[in-house]
């Protein structure tokens, strides 16, 4: 049994879909909503909820624009989000090592 302290796990990232979103965004410069949705196999509504939560905690930033009259919503990981995700990965690695 590990001496795992659940308080140390970032609740904002610790969700299957939000973890996947962060994994995508840390690997690219910027990604559009449809790209993220395809990459992680989420539905529009579900993905929107999780993206909103990440945005509220300033882990990702959002930019909306119209291209050829079609709305495009682009997401980018913030510096706060990058550090939080790196910290989250370190926590996972420390759990594995114990």
């Amino acid at each position: 049994m590990t001496d795992y302290n659940y308080h140390e796990i970032d609740d904002v990232i610790h969700s299957r879909i939000r973890t996947a979103i962060m994994a995508v965004l840390i690997s690219v410069e910027e990604a559009e909503f449809t790209f993220i949705r395809e990459k992680i196999n989420a539905t529009d509504g579900n993905l929107s909820v999780h993206l909103k939560k990440l945005e509220e905690h300033n882990y990702i930033s959002v930019r909306k624009e119209f291209v050829d009259r079609k709305p495009m919503t682009r997401y980018k990981i913030t510096e706060t989000g990058r550090k939080a995700f790196e910290e989250y990965i370190k926590k996972l690695e420390s759990i594995i090592k114990k």
Partner: protein, 204 residues
């Protein structure tokens, strides 16, 4: 969280990250466009040379063609850039590489010859050498071995054109452009369309 659960989660994260990092958005359009434009200009220059039309006229033709093509390329490129659903570091690197290569080729083609640094006939092997560099680096960035292999074709062609300069250099270089640029561009475009999802990105 149990160790196994953490391992599984880490494994998923790594898979997604590796998958996302390999994405390169290259539809080959620039390869096709520039391959066709420059080949046509080379053939036109070749005909002008055979008909003994002055080199100034050929120079003017090249200047107008390159400026016009650059403007079209920039406008189209910006439009396509806005439509992309993902921007990657590899994609940005690729764009910078070809931009720098383009500026270099422009300088060799115009500044080098106008300054009298070398005979205009050597523009083709010089540009062929530069293309070898950009193809090699592009192939590395996109992890495409066949594109890296093309660089050797460019370099081999450059060697031949350096040692055996003649009026036919223009025609030979036009053929090289079709073989090592236009056709690869078509292959890239087909690959891009074949693997294109809603994401508008293709895996390297």
């Amino acid at each position: 969280m149990e160790s196994k659960q953490a391992e599984l989660e880490l494994s998923v994260i790594k898979t997604i990250m590796e998958d996302s990092r390999k994405i390169v958005c290259n539809n080959g359009w620039h390869y096709i466009f520039w391959g066709v434009v420059v080949s046509i200009a080379l053939i036109a220059n070749y005909v002008m040379a055979l008909m003994s039309i002055s080199q100034n006229s050929a120079g003017f033709m090249w200047f107008v063609t390159m400026i016009s093509a650059s403007v079209v390329s920039m406008i189209w490129g910006r439009r396509k850039e806005k439509q992309r659903t993902v921007k990657t570091f590899a994609g940005r690197l690729l764009g910078s590489l070809w931009f720098a290569g383009g500026i270099s080729m422009f300088m060799f083609g115009f500044v080098g010859t106008i300054s009298g640094a070398y005979d205009a006939i050597f523009i083709c092997p010089i540009i062929s050498t530069v293309l070898g560099v950009t193809y090699f680096a592009s192939g590395e960035i996109q992890q495409l071995k066949w594109q890296k292999a093309l660089s050797f074709g460019w370099w081999a062609g450059a060697i031949g054109l350096f040692f055996f300069p003649s009026v036919h250099t223009l025609l030979i270089f036009a053929i090289m452009l079709i073989l090592f640029q236009t056709i690869p561009g078509i292959i890239l475009n087909k690959r891009y369309k074949r693997e294109l999802g809603v994401s508008g990105a293709v895996q390297a």
